[in-house]
Amino acid sequence: MSSLNKKTSGDGVLTIPVGDGTVFQDACANAAADESARVVVIHLTGDREAVEPGAPALLAALGMPVVAGLSGRIEDRALELALAADIRVCEPETTFAMMVSERGKLPSDGGTQRLPRVVGPGLAADMLLIGRTISAEEAFAAGLVTEIAAPRKARQRADEIATAIAAHGRAASVFTKEAVLKGGDMPLEHALHLEADLAILLHTDPERAEGIDAFKERRQPGFRPTPPGKDPET
């Protein structure tokens, strides 16, 4: 497992290039195996990147937080890929649409499932059935994006947000993401047990101890990426 490790830029932020299918697939596999990767970033520019079938599922399977910087027209499978990220940032001119159904097809990379879970059923139906294009403002109001960056700054903002997340506890971020995504499919009572169990499992994490020490000493926590080749499970 450790031999597959691909170094991140050193700050724990791993950028996965969107485009060629095998490159994307390999990058996702590397990210999953890279213990120094704390957060993944993708950039979608909407200029008809070839997002391959299955790409959203690969991205969604990653345990660490995924940030997406979005510009241009984010349509169909590109939107499905963006929906597989956790945090989305766009630009004032970014637009979003799901046109596949207009062409008589059903989205097959999560569009009918993740879109309503992210924006709510009404807007999702509007987009899926009518192929309505929504603006950045509408996307923000609906919770599809959490921030509208300045013009041409989505990439930069996504990188900044990722860098901020990379400074947080790695296991804490992974467990938080898992609690939100897995717990969302459970009755609340069960979901609260999942959260509590993850919180207690986190007691074994050295970064948690460092975070608490840092808080008591009124300083910033100094989390470090796990040294390459060191597998905490062995």
Partner: protein, 246 residues
Amino acid sequence: MTDSPFRTVIYEKHGPVAHIVLNRPAVINAFNVQMRDDLSEVLDAVKWDTDVAAVLLRGAGDRGFCAGADLSEFGSAPSQAAARHARWERDVFGVLRNLPVPTIAALHGHVIGSGVELAMLCDIRIAADDAVFSMPETCYGLIAAAGGTQTLPRAIRKGRALDMLLTGRRLDATGARDDGLIERVVTTTELATESERIAGELAGIDRALAGAIKASLAAARDLPLVDGLALERRLSIMLCRNVAGT
């Protein structure tokens, strides 16, 4: 009047409204083990007190409702098994969430971490315009553990919940209301009177009806639609019989 038997919480009954005040203002009401134990006793009393028809939860002092968990006590559990046992032995968050009467949180100033989580376990949230909300747990290598990873995405859009929980992003009162994290915003001077007015209104709702509405809302969240509709119908018939029988 504030001769409270509790060290970290003030509990007073004003007519049918139970006032619960987090009372460690020197540390912005940081949630510690003592506060958990005090709240646990208070909430158990509220749960069985048929004179109480509504609960108003707020924080003492000018600086905020609650600055989060008191990390100075963290890391003291002897083992994970012991920590897990303690978590469910006194499930103060579960008791608050499952109270049979309507609950309202009045929020001001710092509403951080566990402060947000306590508020989310109430039915309605009203905030002063000076309130600031954030979930900074992961910044300190921690995870929200008073229900925040579950209550936030059920109250606001999933992307916004992930954003708050993973980045520690701060929201002001208006932003929190726009997102759906809280229901109402008032000025700091209006917070006390307005929250008491609403609590009084909530206390005026028939106890059985309030309980049925809360149970139905929980079903709307957890059950398939067909089962939720069946529960709603059963509860409404039960309520009609109660009215006819009195």
